[in-house]
Assembly symmetry: C2
Homo-oligomer: 494 residues x 2
């Protein structure tokens, strides 16, 4: 097969647009053929729309972007393309005719793939010239972000076609899944379709709304499915003996009317296949090990969703709001022990904060100091209402010294000392400690400036907030000035 | 209903253990009753196992942890609990008997919930004293991390029971979903079970392995389901007219054998319900707006999975490895323009990097400087093989000055100037710029120390790496020393 420098699209639409965006992003030229000339503008819009998200998918260095061209002439596209992807409507006779036609205008070494959701490759390749270089390559919306592509060969497809296509799809960042048997709907759409038809039954029977049924997935199983499929998840639910125990325990439920889909007989052969399959997937990892992996990604994904205030992330936000309210202390009541700085943050190093050395990455130290600042602000009455009214401190300078390493799972805490304060500036000093032996891990000196966020310039802090901070500063004035404060990088105190 | 200070567990096991861990974490005492005394040790182990992940779920201040006690006497548990959660085996007569018994030993204001996956509350509450305070509350594994809990009332359940239970479950960080009609399997397990039975058919028919079927979800639809259900996802797939267009386009497929589950007739009533339901879910947001939200979380989740090297995250890692290889330049061939520092990082500010001010959070500036350092290391031949052999630079000091704000979506770049170098120390200066007008946004001065990671102490850098860095330092020695370098926080150069 040729090296793919130019991708030819037969038909555009949402799927074609997704293919175009992905290929162009990874440096491949695209020529799109569509009988409707107005689709050129549409396609350029779809590519532009995909680009902001695609641009954030990876930081790795990319080759120069590919060039997009458009033609209403199928033969021009066929003559210029090194790989052709068909995305026309799901009608077998139409696809057969167009695929046969395009196959007559290409070199014999040009692979031709169909994006069909459910038609069979053996039927599609029937009338083609060189049917051995044809396959189904079924992607998922949004094609420019989801890595899955199902590859299915027909009776006449050669093994080298599947291998070469897999290599091309990996090149544009995808995960090719070879579907070894032709079945309507391939693999993924069969599973999705079973769930979808059950949804339609539930709505049809008046049991639940579309919104309730979506909630039933996104707050629970959907979070798990982001990285482990049903089989691995059920293997984990079975305790130490995994899938075998799970089938023994829930096997009887297969006869219960939990869905309108009847299950197959749970024969010994089927049980063995399920058990052997999941054991292969576990690849020697224990249930405990896999549970830890599952728990780690479930926590990390909820953190992400919290930032977007969606699904389980919204639940987490609401919970945290309540926890902060419950823990709120009147600033006047804060116990200011002049013998030590404020201890405002206690936490545990998360696995996603460590780098390839298994130590916490440098910028995460600064993140923890920022979390301690947030706690100080809450204490000073600088809350969401204050921010909404347009006041806020901005970090203008931070100097961190890294003294010791810290590992995933280690409990740590941050203390904060107020060094100085005037009507606009707030000078603080943080110390990050390991909890179990109180070892000092890092120090951070920061200067914050109070701003009027609407005017985007420095402005005096509100008197109430200043009074509360001043009370802390006064108490802290009895503490020694940290030796590290006022030092420059690589040197002693300036 | 009473304020829940003590949760009573009737039966333990994986589900009971999950309930215990969650309640204790949020400050509620737990008394567990199980006829088998050996379950006490098991339960304490399960709680301890859940704690590391739970501890990372939120940074918000938590009340003191609850206390766990255990009894083999159901009556002791019933007398002390403010809320009872039953988790015994899924056998209707057994559950009916035990629920009736426990109901005779509690105050009338104690709610009693069953964790049943699929039994009906009307059947379960039949023999109870005070059946109006009974409900099904069905959680999902791992109970201590997944927020979903389905609440289902039976014919005798009061509305205030559902409301009070929802309040309690929210208190322990969950998302209660009120299932308004009793059906076997409630909502979630019906959808999961349809997918599960289709899997069993596929394995039974020899079409695919458990591993292939799991891949068919986790690299595609599973990523979407982490935050949007099938209905919302299909609404987005339908283009501007959403679900209505989607049903028109894919309605005919409902007759195709894409699953062994037959679909209901796609009547006008059903179409209207699907369209009205998804319109309510969209809540006035346009398709474009929802697409952007979907794309944002799909990118962010893939970043998380990349850190755990699982599913779509592994695909991304493999892609990046290839991109770095393709872009690798022999260090000798790097164009060292003595007139300017190295520009090693070009990127775009991601939406998950901004804070409540919609500006990039302070520690993300340091993260970008770290990414620029990684690029410098690659250029100097300090690659994965070098790290594996035990050599590495550690950041020992960073001083960042924040000069300007930067917003989500803004393209930025980092330049890096090598100030000084000896056998162990590497002194650099970064500048973060906005791309469109080259405005300077922040500066960062860093001292890095070369370490022998096995011995965990400073050690000389390898001669080859040092020579490559030295070549850069020499070229940069023609550049002016940055005015900000050598300055202390809040002051001029020291």
């Amino acid at each position: 097969m040729r090296k793919v420098k130019t991708l030819g699209l037969l038909g555009t639409g949402v799927i074609g647009g997704g293919w175009a965006a992905r290929a162009l992003h990874f440096g491949i030229d695209v020529i799109a053929a569509d009988v409707k000339p107005e689709m050129e503008e549409w396609l350029r819009g779809a590519v532009a729309n995909a680009e902001p998200a695609l641009a954030r998918l990876t930081f790795a260095p990319l080759p120069p972007k590919g060039k997009l061209s458009f033609t209403t002439d199928l033969r021009e596209m066929a003559a210029r393309a090194d790989f052709i992807q068909e995305n026309i409507p799901e009608q077998l006779p139409l696809k057969q005719k167009m695929l046969a036609e395009v196959s007559r205008h290409t070199g014999a070494d040009v692979l031709i793939a169909s994006s069909t959701s459910g038609l069979m490759p053996t039927d599609l390749q029937r009338d083609m010239v060189g049917p051995e270089r044809f396959l189904v390559a079924h992607p998922f919306n949004p094609v420019y972000l989801l890595p899955l592509v199902e590859l299915v060969g027909g009776k006449q497809t050669s093994a080298s076609t599947i291998a070469a296509a897999a290599e091309y799809f990996r090149y544009i960042g995808m995960h090719p899944l070879h579907v070894r048997h032709e079945v309507p709907g391939h693999l993924t759409d069969r599973l999705q379709e079973a769930l979808w038809r059950e949804i339609l039954h539930m709505v049809n029977d008046g049991v639940a709304t579309t919104g309730e049924l979506d909630e039933s997935i996104v707050y629970g199983p959907g979070l798990r499915w982001a990285a482990m499929g049903t089989n691995m998840i059920y293997h984990l639910a079975g305790g130490e003996s995994g899938m075998r125990h799970m089938l023994a325990q829930f096997g009887p439920c297969l006869k219960w009317p939990w869905t309108k889909l009847e299950a197959p007989e749970l024969s010994e052969t089927l049980i063995d296949r399920m058990v052997e399959g999941t054991q292969q997937q576990a690849a020697g990892r224990s249930i405990r090990e896999l549970e830890r992996l599952r728990d780690d990604y479930l926590v990390a994904i909820q953190q992400v969703l919290r930032q977007f205030d969606i699904g389980a992330g919204s639940t987490l936000r609401a919970l945290e709001e309540r926890l902060y309210q419950d823990a709120a202390v009147a600033p006047e009541a804060v116990d200011l022990d002049a013998a030590r700085p404020l201890r405002l943050l206690d936490t545990v190093v998360r696995p996603e904060w460590v780098d390839y050395n298994a130590h916490m990455t440098d910028y995460r130290y600064m993140m923890l100091m920022g979390d301690a600042m947030d706690a100080l602000y809450r204490l000073a009455g600088l809350d969401e209402a204050y921010r909404k009214a347009g006041g806020m401190y901005y970090d203008v300078e931070t100097h961190v010294r890294f003294l010791r390493e810290v590992k995933s799972g280690e409990p740590v805490y941050v203390t904060t000392q107020v060094l100085a304060l005037d009507e606009k500036r707030l000078h603080v000093f943080h110390r990050l400690h390991r909890r179990h032996d109180d070892q000092l891990i890092a120090t951070g000196e920061q200067m914050h400036l109070h701003v009027d966020t609407a005017a985007a310039k420095a402005a005096p802090v509100a008197p109430g907030v200043r009074a509360r901070l001043e009370r802390i500063r006064k108490a802290h004035s009895a503490l020694p000035v940290p030796a590290e404060s006022g030092a420059r990088v690589g040197g002693a105190r300036g």
